[in-house]
């Protein structure tokens, strides 16, 4: 297990002691600093005028729905493109610079290599999610915030980030070209949202149920509304485990190829 820890520490340092990561954080915060106050402003106007407006959905009058969930959907959009930028070099760069030789000739297993790198990527994703969490935290000085659903919603988006990280780690392990890894990762991240679309085209009840269960959005929607369901958590974990396993196989394959 110590191998995992050594690689984890090194990669996490590689993220946090690197200007690229802070550049990404800066850009993310620029986007939020522009969008979030506008959202907040619109929400406050809506509250002031709602008596005069007819047919405003009830849940839009809640700050959780009116502001935080919108922010989360922007965060999700950003993560689709940001997580690949963080993870693309994890394996591709090592292969290109031949530092991969060092890892493969060190007394660590493929599993430890992948785990170390995955946990480090998770650490970096966590940093960005925390950065986004600062905005609701700042809002709590102006408004009453229901902390439970807020944290659960952010946990949900963090799990989605974890799914991206696992898929993108796998994409990075496939190639030694970082750009290819990036493009493949973005395609993975975008296409996982389209799996659930199957619900709308299949006829059978059973098939529809299956698509519902493998749809990322149906599991995420539970979490962002503040309800934790074990089947949702298991679903996220299964995807993460699946792609980490695939990445581990790719790393291992270089031993016998």
């Amino acid at each position: 297990m110590s191998g995992t820890l050594v690689i984890f520490k090194k990669e996490l340092k590689g993220f946090y002691f690197n200007s690229t990561f802070w550049m990404i954080c800066f850009l993310v915060s620029v986007v939020f600093s522009w969008v979030y106050p506008i959202q907040l402003n619109l929400f406050s106007q809506l509250l002031m005028n709602y008596v005069m407006q007819q047919g405003v959905p009830q849940n839009q009058l809640n700050i959780h729905y009116g502001v935080f969930l919108r922010q989360l959907s922007y965060l999700n959009l950003l993560l689709i493109f940001v997580v690949p930028a963080l993870t693309m070099k994890l394996f591709a760069e090592e292969k290109k610079l031949r530092t991969f030789d060092l890892l493969l000739t060190s007394p660590v297993t493929s599993f430890q290599i992948v785990m170390g790198k995955y946990l480090a990527a998770l650490g970096a994703v966590g940093g960005i999610v925390l950065l986004a969490l600062l905005y609701p935290l700042a809002t709590s000085t102006l408004a009453t915030v229901n902390w439970g659903p807020l944290f659960i919603a952010f946990l949900g988006i963090f799990l989605v980030g974890g799914v991206y990280a696992a898929m993108n780690l796998f994409a990075s392990s496939l190639t030694e070209n970082s750009i290819v890894a990036y493009v493949a990762s973005v395609i993975f991240n975008v296409s996982i949202w389209f799996v659930g679309i199957g619900t709308e085209v299949v006829d059978g009840e059973r098939a529809r149920k299956i698509f519902e269960h493998v749809s990322l959005s149906s599991h995420l929607s539970g979490l962002v509304e503040g309800t934790v369901r074990t089947n949702g958590l298991i679903f996220f974990l299964s995807i993460i485990v699946l792609f980490c396993f695939l990445a581990e196989r790719v790393v291992e394959s270089s031993r016998w190829r």
Binding site: R98, D101, L102, R255, W256, R257
Partner: protein, 314 residues
């Protein structure tokens, strides 16, 4: 220490190495010699557990590299052709990382890093980014990386390639200084390197071992044979004829002009003496007489390219 048995590796239809068999005992410094593409790197990669063989097996310190790769990797320091260094790390941090990766106990890491830096003379650059180092220094960081865990076996794949002569000399000195503490395998296609550092040579060509012996034995492969280079003041048209009376002469080759010859003799120093006194006696004006040993280069070329010795002075 290292046992290699029937080791074979296929890359698709191409056979990179074909049934290699050799063994290396503890403390040996072995040169792994061969032209480019002979299968040197492949063999080394298999011994390090980096890749698996198609057939056969290899073991290090009694552990099979495929069955028990972790035990093997603990005992090996490996410098690949391209030093596996992270450009964005500081030399010291990098070596600490490698030491931790190689499972050096925590309390010993600082000591081993210091030791490796000392041995490879990296003291001046230890706090610099690897990115900013010259190629020679990067190579040294690569070697430091290989020795930082104080491994029993050190595998160096072309450690001096692309370095300037001074750096080459330094790296050779370094390898010499590591002798005795580690079992070293050194792959190269540069012959003087092997002559300078190794005791034993394995010559490999097209995936097969063509010779395996000590340098001493290889360079005097044909025992009791001496080649003399002579330079005369006067021209001699037919040296063969002049020397025809001597039984010990087995071959005569002309040199750049009729004043330079090389003569192959069988026998001992007496034969040399006879030739010199004959040449002096005939009044050719003997200016130079140098005995030349067959050197490793001849052996190497002959074995790997099947090239026959050419006439004339080498």
């Amino acid at each position: 220490m290292i046992q290699v048995k029937d080791l074979t590796k296929d890359y698709g239809p191409r056979r990179a190495i074909d049934k290699l068999n050799f063994s290396i005992s503890k403390g040996d410094v072995v040169g792994f010699l061969g032209p480019n593409g002979a299968g040197k790197s492949t063999t080394m990669k298999i011994i390090t557990g980096f890749m698996a063989p198609s057939h056969g097996n290899a073991s290090v310190a009694g552990f099979d590299v495929f069955e028990n790769p972790l035990e093997v990797k603990k005992r090996i320091g490996y410098l690949p052709e391209i030093p596996p260094v992270y450009a964005d790390m500081y030399v010291q941090d990098y070596l600490r990382y490698v030491a931790a990766l190689k499972q050096v106990p925590k309390e010993k890491i600082e000591g081993s890093v210091k030791n490796a830096i000392e041995k490879t003379n990296l003291g001046d650059v230890q706090k610099r980014l690897i990115h900013h180092l010259s190629k020679g220094f990067k190579q040294r960081v690569g070697i430091a990386q290989a020795i930082v865990s104080d491994p029993e076996v050190l595998i160096l794949d072309e450690p001096t390639v692309g370095l300037d002569p001074k750096q080459v000399a330094e790296i050779r000195e370094l390898i010499k200084s590591l002798k005795g503490q580690h079992t070293i395998i050194l792959s190269t296609h540069i012959l003087p390197e092997v002559e300078a550092t190794c005791e034993k040579v394995i010559i490999i060509n097209k995936g097969r071992i063509v010779a395996e012996d000590s340098i001493q034995n290889l360079s005097t492969m044909e025992q009791g044979q001496i080649r003399l280079h002579v330079r005369l003041r006067k021209s001699v048209e037919d040296m063969q004829n002049v020397l025809s009376g001597m039984g010990s002469v087995i071959g005569v080759h002309s040199g750049a002009s009729a004043k330079e010859w090389s003569i192959d003799l069988k026998g001992s120093e007496e034969a040399v003496e006879n030739v010199s006194s004959l040449l002096v006696g005939k009044g050719y004006g003997l200016l130079e007489l140098t005995p030349a040993k067959r050197d490793l280069e001849d052996v190497f070329l002959k074995l790997t390219y099947g090239q026959q010795e050419k006439g004339g002075p080498a």
